[in-house]
Amino acid sequence: MRPFEDVVAEYGATVLRVCRAVVGPVDAEDAWSETFLSALRAYPDLPADANVEAWLVTIAHRRAVDVGRARSRRPVPTDTLPERPAAHADPAARDPDLWAALQLLPTKQRQALAYHHIAGLPFAEIAELLDNSPDAARRAAADGLKTLRKHYREDESA
């Protein structure tokens, strides 16, 4: 079995992008930290032939749901971007339109979009995470991408 450090090095960036897309820039770091701590705990029992990236995204999905629940219990509005500590660069400041556009999407569309287009998971596996069918997962990702492009046109000039 590979040292867990190799797993962090190989997938840390992808999991961060997935967390940011799904829960937004503020909660993403908690979601990332909880994902990799949970993964480290369970790592010795991971089957040798497991798809490590899909396994991490599954954990991130559950952690993100937890983080989202915790946030929804907090007495703060969820439709505005809270301020981040000044000590850290704010990723949302680089491109507020993308964050705003992602936030406008229904949760399942945002999740399907992130798991497929950022993590590269097949729709069959995404359907298991979202508790729907592969077709529904595919539609959610497609609808999400369409809406995102309508509200966020940066990429068309790229």
């Binding site: 040292p3 840390g12 961060l16 992008r17 930290s33 480290l40 990429d155």
Partner: protein
């Protein structure tokens, strides 16, 4: 298109990921799931890999042993919960720095000798008693542990010392006075012997 679309999600990764890694190191240690922590240090005998379990320093490895291979071996033999986490190695790294600066002659760090078993363990335990600046022949070590004819096996045990530098297998030399072989290469061995003789 899609890759461009999500560029903003990764723009600051170069600073964010190291910060998150540090947080993971702390969280893993607190949660008691950091089975093997490691770091590297630069020394006059090259870059050394230091690895520790919760019990103590478990491995010191030279560059020529291939650090990636050593870490893969630790994942197999101890636990795959291996993270680059320097904090647990602060004391060992500091003492090794002092040793090379000639400000330390004895290492005082907890050691975990689980990688040396049976006969090899007996040899390793004896090596800890060979003091700074002293030399002992392979034959003398064999005699000291009660196996006077196992001279060659003593050499093999030294070559598999999991904690070179800290456990001084470099102080074991040939009966004719020549330095003999070493896990870190003959140059590293003579560097350590010269350092201690100076």
């Amino acid at each position: 298109m899609t890759i461009n679309l999500f560029d903003a999600l990764s723009a600051d990764e170069a600073t964010t990921l190291p910060r998150l890694h540090e947080r993971l190191e702390r969280d893993a240690d607190t949660a008691d799931v950091l089975d093997v922590a490691y770091r590297t240090i630069d020394t006059p005998v090259g870059t050394l890999l230091l690895a520790a379990t919760t019990a103590g320093l478990v491995r010191v490895a030279y560059d020529i042993e291939d650090h990636d291979a050593v870490l893969a071996g630790l994942a197999d033999r101890i636990s795959p919960r291996v993270l680059r986490a320097p904090a647990r190695l602060d004391s060992a790294a500091g003492q090794i720095d002092e040793y090379f600066a000639k400000r330390r002659t004895v290492f005082e760090v907890p050691v975990d000798l689980r990688l040396a078993e049976g006969f090899r363990r007996n040899v390793i335990e004896h090596l800890r008693d060979i003091g700074y600046g002293r030399r002992e022949s392979y034959a003398a070590v064999a005699a000291a542990i009660g196996h006077p004819r196992a001279v060659r096996a003593v050499g093999t045990a030294c070559a598999h010392n999991p904690l070179p530098v800290v456990i001084p297998c470099h102080r074991v030399v040939r009966s004719d006075g020549s330095t003999g072989q070493y896990v870190g290469g003959p140059l590293a061995k003579s560097t350590l012997l010269d350092l201690e003789a100076a």
